[in-house]
Symmetry: C2
Subunit: 316 residues, 2 copies
Amino acid sequence: MASMMFTDCSSSTTSRLFHLNRRNGTSLLRQCVGQLRFQTTASGRGCIRSSSSPISAISVILVGDRKDSATYVRNKKKACDSVGIKSFEVCVAEDSSEEEVLRSVSGFNDDPSVHGILVQLPLPSHMDEQNILNAVSIEKDVDGFHPLNIGRLAMRGREPLFVPCTPKGCIELLHRYNIGIKGKRAVVIGRSNIVGMPAALLLQREDATVTIIHSRTKNPEEITREADIIISAVGQANMVRGSWIKPGAVIIDVGINPVEDSSAARGYRLVGDICYEEASKVASAITPVPGGVGPMTIAMLLSNTLKSAKRIHNFQ
Amino acid sequence: MASMMFTDCSSSTTSRLFHLNRRNGTSLLRQCVGQLRFQTTASGRGCIRSSSSPISAISVILVGDRKDSATYVRNKKKACDSVGIKSFEVCVAEDSSEEEVLRSVSGFNDDPSVHGILVQLPLPSHMDEQNILNAVSIEKDVDGFHPLNIGRLAMRGREPLFVPCTPKGCIELLHRYNIGIKGKRAVVIGRSNIVGMPAALLLQREDATVTIIHSRTKNPEEITREADIIISAVGQANMVRGSWIKPGAVIIDVGINPVEDSSAARGYRLVGDICYEEASKVASAITPVPGGVGPMTIAMLLSNTLKSAKRIHNFQ
């Protein structure tokens, strides 16, 4: 049985984003966003005020009327409010032109009161996602998706201005729980630009020996069983079974997959890529789904925005 | 015994850069630079003329008077001459300022007759290598070291303008000898910005399952033994022994390490990271040192310069 579980103990991710319990009842709670709030509102630090005139601000560009995108944007806005980061939102109609979105990006690039720019994905199919993401100033790319940031992340001796939020949150979880990375065998399942690839680069920067597993890997079970640390971001419900896990491994499950559940109010429930019931009997630590990595993504977005504001205001 | 060996059969890498022999004597020779020369000088293609007015040109900036750097630059110049690529060379004194080097870079960036810019490394310690490499226009970065190129290399769905020459040469060797990469287990030993890291990214783009081994890896022998393809670029003479190799594996040895040898005219000889004598008895294919990967690096530099000239001249 996993001796440590990363659990969201709150129904409101904006009030208590992150919690850890041990089975023995000893709480090792360190609330990431709570800490961030302390850091950002403490008058002695003075870098951000939770007042009506915050000096850190993020702009979100939402194109179209997808309900899921609107929900994500609303959650980000709530989280910003909770730590005193001002958020602007620009809604662009589904049938707008790419140029209109680019104009919004350009306006925020030029606006010195904006420290972070988020373009909510996915974009309508008639728009070129690359063009639009590339247009975001690298100094305000709080999502960390700009290829220049990814290049710096990949290179030894270089530092990205921002690290993509979800993989940054995964590593932060390991740090917060004092789980050593250096010299460990790590397996990342999935090689997306948003999670898998940057997570592998981050693990390698911390001196893990990393293998990335993907759809063309012939023996994923065997390779995963060698890992001390597993980060899965593949989007397949319960793909990783207990038999794939080395006893004592640490598991970070990024997958959020809906599965039918007639007993649930909405007719479905959310599960991860890892079969939690089986894996938690073998692993030493595991994140639940939902409530594990998800809240960390938003926390890291706030952290990136804070970092950007501090850089722009030349605040150490 | 390796059934296939990548062997340089010529003492002059500028005349015959690359050769393959099978032990059974069947030559599968395909001279990479020979092919490139054909491709670039064939009047029907017309993209480069091996005349006095070539339309492809590379500029090399050599700072200081290191003998090894001067030799590398001379070899590159010879290779350019052999395929009709014009090469300019700017020599900057060892005690010059960083600004002087940056001025040279800037001049070549602005010169439409220059399609590739090379800054020969290493630079004197009083210069910031990052600053200078970052100043090279990404459209003329034929070394492929710009973080924007590396970022695009790392990202799915993005294309780098240029791929670093040595790892590109490693992959080209595998392609030329019809060695499949997709679905194979690959181990890259070493994680340098110049070879190991981009080699791993390239293997992954070709759907290998890649593990990078480095100085903090606890059991490199065991992990290497799982590999179908090994690329080593760690700079330690004969580090990888025969016992590390899975029977039938394919080995690309990028290391070039001098070891004392009183029987050699210069008192030393060059060996790779792989113990060739042992590994060649287990592997199915192996590159020798010298004469394996080295000539490919120069060939890929020419290939990158050709690609740049074609892009700038809008030649398909």
